[in-house]
Subunit: 434 residues, 4 copies
């Protein structure tokens, strides 16, 4: 049984060997903990090209340790199997040929058990290495190890969103977990208010000692006009108004590409919404259940977020606006550690001065295309492929979700997905001019 | 462990209740016996649209019993799960909506264990029924039960060819079974001779009491010119000559559609042939191994069979020619019961009067398009969809293969596949004018 | 203006030089005569991959003369342009590389005028050659010249069906010609009767001195059961009954492949049928007009012909049955020379002993897959690619259409198209068991 | 013959009726002038979905006048044909249903002559209107008329790039025009230098009385780091170095999406480059000719521009950087009025203080995703669809090309295309950090 009190590891840039070892163990075991509810068969399926089988995630994150730490730092290290490099490389062209992404679900072997053996083989070597190396080596390796921990946390979130998609494809509507009892919600969501921000030159991006991905750097100045930001996320109930007012059939509300997409895909509602006997239901990780209208709307594409905002005579925030609004807000919210695995209704109105729900629940689409910051330099070598090569045709999302480890997110954190992606926990916050 | 001495059931049109029950048990248990070598993960994968996951086969054949026997004959019968009819209907439009074929591999549930529970639930009800009903009912049900047994045998062969494809897709080249020791072959294949047949009016098609599919009926007269037939199958070695003489790059050897297919698919050899370090290997159910040049060539499309024949200034037989040549030959050969799961080299030249290898080893492509026999009438009701609706754009194959249960095949048996199908055990026998 | 009294040439195997020259001129000029109603722009368009631009047809038939006659028989002959061989080869792999078929409509040059210059260049050289060569050479060349004439006649029909498709794609519904006045029809179609034929051994296929394509040979014996044949073609009105009784939504009426096709293509009626304000109209070469229910139904696929026959508890004839029924019937009917360019209602019941409408009006789908006759040998060299390589995945049609030159058709003539083709003038005659 | 001295109209926001009429006439006649070299057949072809037939361009720009001016301002106005609205609407969903874009090349009618009749019908009504209306109406209509002139100029450029693509698809390599004599170039391109710009807050975007598209508004402040910009465009010769050093086979030089694109499309060089007998040639509007290595490289995608910049350890400019660098430079260069229809080698080094070739020759890819400016509001009504709905998955290009009317371009002008577009005259200027 998953122990929800158990927090995911917080992979900070740590000072001591022992702390690093502890973090490694925590992150690695949390990955496996997330898999406990799964049947063996669930590990195998790839329900669409964007989704990877759980089995593949488990192996790929291990491959990452092998490739970027063990092969580099431990002379004579050999992988458990000579073909695993080919099978479990995700997208690192510098590393060599790899198995075609859309075919990950066609590979029944290694079995789940063999995949866990691979994990444990890697763990054993990693822990050996971390124990054995001298302080100088430890210092040298700490950045890549920290990256490996962050990388594994990203895959923890992907494992949840991917398995949700796999289970939702199944007409039997199986649940990942049975629903837990939640404290009764207040019964109504506080009304949406607007918070105003002054114009000015601001600094955004990462600076300092803590970990950040290269795409958060360098910290740099931007000029922002005055703007305003919604005090909370858009709810299912509010999004239903958009649907019922014909939002999906009014072309002028949509980006041209979005309009073509909803025609072609026949989208009439967010992903996982399903009407049964005239009643809206929603597929969750706890199975299909009746819609809770107070929850933040989730699993919408950028196109839908943008169209909804236009319909409300508003717009999405830029990522700089979001970051400025978020920078002083404590990182609290509905993260993966809550064990809820679903966005939660906003309980209280919060302060008058700060927006609520900035962290957790759902990733917030911004109107910012994913692009390099001024002066951006990707890391040298293969890890340089981590972020930079995706800076095209994607949009930035901010704030983390109910599937993100709390320690993984920051005010400067830039997530990114193509505008038609819906299987992540993605939602909407409105913005506008003052 | 699979017990190879154990024969597959011979589902004849039986007279007694006890014999029918025994046949039912034998066929059903042989299906499960074929799955014993599989890992749970192997049951889940669908490696191409034509392939079904093993799990699906196991459930679908059970669905057949439920739909055509239990639901009809046992008042109040309910399936183990209300959605299984939707999930496990293959192509019977009369039965209702069904799960889209190419998406069978996206369904992780029911699990393998639940699928076996479904089988056992059906078995229990079937055995109850067979024990309980009176003689009149038994007589009435015997034809559909016999069809169910034949149907399950067809899926036994498909399970083997499908799992072969699944494992072959895997860069790890896993084996279904480890190779068994075979008696040493004679060292050389007897030379190909030609057997001649006189012109005349002949009767082909099924007649009499034994079971046959509706597509083998009615028995009818055909006029045949004199023809000749090769004394044995084409071997890997002979096919290699075709490859090495440039067969795949000479357009005039090919049907137009075949030429386009080999260009588009970049075929340069039969399916499962793989050159490693300059040496031809072949993927078998026992894994990847060096080519045995004396074995019959296998896993060729109709296009390749036809092009090879043209290159040899010969042709493929018509199905009527094949049937006339085969009708007096005993049904012996390398069937699934041999446990070999692969075509075998021809050991001895055989008689001067009859062709060898007519049954077993590989299905033999004929030049006959799959069409209704004169006066053909499909069975009434949903089982009428079994064969007739596929009589378009396919070719007839004859004789059974190393994956066919011996008792399943007949001289009148008409198998059929589209001309580009290669994943079945399909091979070549030459024919020509006298 | 097209002179409808002018008959198309009858390219028989002629004895004298002068007759051959006359035939050459007649066929060539009829091709151009068919183009007279076209605007320059109409010559350019390729409305689907199966359709060729009129400009391409005009050039391709000239290329045929160049390639198979002039280049062979006239030393030092050079084409008008070195690239025309590449551009205007249709499918002869032996001749070399060629321009990709679906891209024929992307080529604006040569212009229409240049294309006619190319034709006239070829004509001049052909007429020179025919005048100049000695009798021995003439005798030697006569077969290939005759083939060239037949080839050009085939393209005359294709030009009409292709331009019909091009114009029908256009929302403006332009007409190729304005409608001519036809004699008033009798007002009602004679009732369908059944004609019976005895079982026996029959000879079918071509024999003798007259021209035939290689696919009509050799003449050979077939055994036929007794059968019956409808006295006339199926009419639009009868086909409407099929539509209105839900024919397109009952899966058990259809071949599996046909059912998928009508779903995917959303077919609800024959090609060119169009409902306007609740009234059925039809696109003809004379533009869009109200449906005449007495005309033979036209522009149906094999799937639709087969489904209609099944709905009527009948079937399509085999090509042997059709040929036996047709062999003694004079070749008369509604051919291209009528200038009607559309199937005509049957005026009178005709004889009690012979079916009506066997020739002309519409090509009749048979249930026979297009296959080699026993002992078939394609011609040597590149012309051997004319027919044989298409003997796969197509069905035979018999009898010619309202777009066929009368002299082009024979009782042994085998036309062939894939089962989903609808843009030819294709219709339905019912057959059945006695 | 095209008179190259004749300048394209300069559609400024004019004060007087007579000037407006003159501009209208000039722009409209320049459109037709560009078509003079075409054969009728050239007007019909659509060589890929992005390309429109010339005939369609001619009609669509007339439709624009009809829809946005005549129908609005002239009571009782009726189009020349009721179906033209359907056929010639490009993408205005507010106007209604329209003919599917990729099918524009399937429509042979209206003929070219009828299309010109349509143009002249519209011209007559427009000139009537412009003469007849009172000053108040004139003032009211001037903005939409000005937009119509700008719109027609945009299509003038598209007509040239589209017809170039159509002719280049043709294996005959026809030329739009024969090559004109150009003054001999200096023989070598001045070396690339770097120009530096200080950091600061800048204003970009349009302000004032002159015409601008809505996407250039509102003028707003941006903060820019110091940057540097190349003194000239990248040449063919420099790009060849990239090719020959293996640029197209080094994955780490490419955006992930770009790498997939070049694999899938098998790009090895810019569009229209063609190697013949080991020599690089290039398809131009004047036909195929040897490469001039001094010309700016052209017909590259964003992916190629970005990869080239990365290979040079540089980057592309942002659109703000480009605009700041360009704002004080006179709008001079190689525009459509030169009649050269191809980028020209840079003759002289120019000033030390300003970059050369900022206007004309080739559109310069920027690294800025096409997005709304802060406070952007699309125009109300259907013209609001002109720009805003494309602000997704495209990149901004700046500066105009050799196919752009000189009067059409501005320092604030934002052109935009998807990153894989290559058929426009698109090139590369390098930028970088100071």
């Amino acid at each position: 049984m998953v122990d929800y009190v158990q927090p995911a590891a917080a992979p900070k840039q740590v000072a001591t060997r022992q702390a690093l070892i502890e973090q490694y163990k925590l992150v690695r075991s949390f990955t496996e903990q997330l898999c406990e509810p799964l049947a063996t068969e669930d590990y195998v399926v790839q329900s669409m090209p964007d989704v990877s089988p759980t089995k593949w995630h488990l192996a790929h994150v291990s491959w990452f340790w092998e490739t970027f730490v063990l092969s580099a730092a431990q002379p004579g290290y050999t992988s458990l199997h000579p073909q695993y490099t080919y099978l479990f490389n995700s997208y690192y062209d510098s590393i060599g040929e790899r198995h075609c992404r859309p075919r990950r679900g066609l590979i029944s072997r290694p079995t789940v058990e063999e995949t866990y053996q691979y994990r444990h083989y890697v763990d054993q070597h990693m822990l050996d290495l971390l124990t054995r190396i001298d302080e100088a080596q430890l210092t040298e390796l700490t950045p890549i190890i920290t990256l490996g921990l962050q990388h594994e946390q990203q895959h923890q979130e992907l494992m949840l969103t991917d398995i949700k998609h796999v289970l939702a494809c199944n007409p039997l509507h199986p649940a990942y977990l049975s629903e837990r009892k939640h404290p009764p919600s207040s019964g109504s969501v506080p009304p949406l208010k607007w918070l105003s921000y002054e114009e000015g030159i601001f600094e955004i991006g990462h600076q300092g000692d803590g970990f950040a991905f290269d795409n958060e750097c360098p910290r740099h100045r931007v000029f922002l006009n005055a703007f305003r930001l919604a005090s909370r996320l858009v709810t299912n109930g509010e999004y239903l108004d958009f649907i019922e007012s014909g939002g999906y059939s009014i072309p002028t509300l949509w980006l041209s590409e979005g309009w073509h997409t909803i025609q072609e895909q026949q989208w009439q509602a967010p992903l996982y919404w399903e009407k049964r006997d005239g009643q809206w239901h929603v597929q969750t990780l706890m199975g299909l259940r009746k819609m809770n209208w107070d929850e933040p709307v989730c699993h919408v594409s950028y196109y839908e977020a943008d169209a909804y905002a236009r319909w409300k005579h508003a717009r999405l925030a830029t990522e700089a606006e979001w970051e400025i609004a978020a920078r002083d807000i404590p990182i609290e919210g509905n993260f993966v550690e809550s064990g809820r695995y679903h966005p939660a209704p906003l309980a209280s109105a919060g302060s008058d001065e700060q927006p609520a729900q900035m962290y957790g629940d759902v990733w917030e689409w911004t109107q910012s295309a994913y692009a390099p910051y001024p002066g951006y330099k990707p890391a040298p070598g293969a890890v340089g492929e981590y972020n930079g090569k995706f800076m095209c045709s994607q949009f930035v999302l901010r704030g983390g979700s109910c599937a993100t480890p709390r320690a993984h997110v920051r005010s400067t954190y830039r997530n990114f997905f193509p505008p038609d992606a819906r299987w992540q926990f993605t939602g909407i916050r409105l913005a506008g001019e003052v």
